[in-house]
Subunit: 202 residues, 2 copies
Amino acid sequence: MGEDTTDELMRATYCALCKHGFADLTMQDIADESSKSKATLHYHYDSKRDLLVAFLDYLYERFKERVAASGGETPSEQLLAFVDAVMTPPPRDRQEEFQTAILEIKAQAPYEDDFRERLARFDELVYDRVLTIVAAGVEDGTFSADVDPGMVASFFVTVVSGAHTRHVVEGRQPEGTVEALAEYVESKLLADDAEGKGLSAE
Amino acid sequence: MGEDTTDELMRATYCALCKHGFADLTMQDIADESSKSKATLHYHYDSKRDLLVAFLDYLYERFKERVAASGGETPSEQLLAFVDAVMTPPPRDRQEEFQTAILEIKAQAPYEDDFRERLARFDELVYDRVLTIVAAGVEDGTFSADVDPGMVASFFVTVVSGAHTRHVVEGRQPEGTVEALAEYVESKLLADDAEGKGLSAE
């Protein structure tokens, strides 16, 4: 399958998920959002599940590219730029509906190992990146020596996951999550003699 | 409807949700878990949605009772006892399946205002209780004067929500969430001269 066709089918899957949600989604719904027939979809993907697994892979690649580009000089700045990139996806059509469909897919994880495995990759990416930044910050003395990078990384994954769920349930991004994480970095992670180097200097 | 019948139907709803999940649940599935007929269920509840709204109300009352009993002397202890009560539900049959069904219901919130409203009450209870404890702690000098109780309360709601979602997606309670919150309370909230009063003393 050419890259253009893949892109078209992935965009069609996005639109169909936003319109119909996950539970009621059919291959026909996805075909309807593209120039391809349902038969063509079935030629490339055996089932709706296979197509959605490919869609999660596609989303993951884009997520990886997007968050890789987050900058920052000091470990504190890197951490907050990364969190900001993770928490504020690029403006897209039907963002709310899309987030809702993703939460529906998360609720299927216990029944579909392929979904669970793909969803885990997003969390692992967040975990690994936070772990790397925090460990480097402990190493160079920006962060306190008694900070446990693994615990901080897992905590960040939990906060990101909670912000997503609350966004769906409440219909809006919960206020202050990024600010709360910024305060967490400042008060919990920064070494006492490093406050001037990090956020407090801003 | 007598209290016994309500209890029986709520327990039947719990079992049916665990077995069938939310999306495929029917009134017949719920009737099958009770001694009542589907006709009796329909006599008391117009629709599956109405029954689930009653079920969420029922869960909320139990949740309220359970977390109200969490103790603690100092504000730090109260906060952590509360978080512990919220994060560790009583052992129940099919806990994993139940948490999954609740996540499915959360993903319906954008389409069902009654669900959204009921789900919001759980978050509001957590928010209000954390707000009250933190505000009291700031007042009595246990917590720093520059702690913003509203931001802390919202952050706790996000963390609790994230722990629930990760539990479903990963099939296990994320490790270290309660410990991470305990460290957060210790390093971010406690006033510098109050460290001996709180967790550090344990």
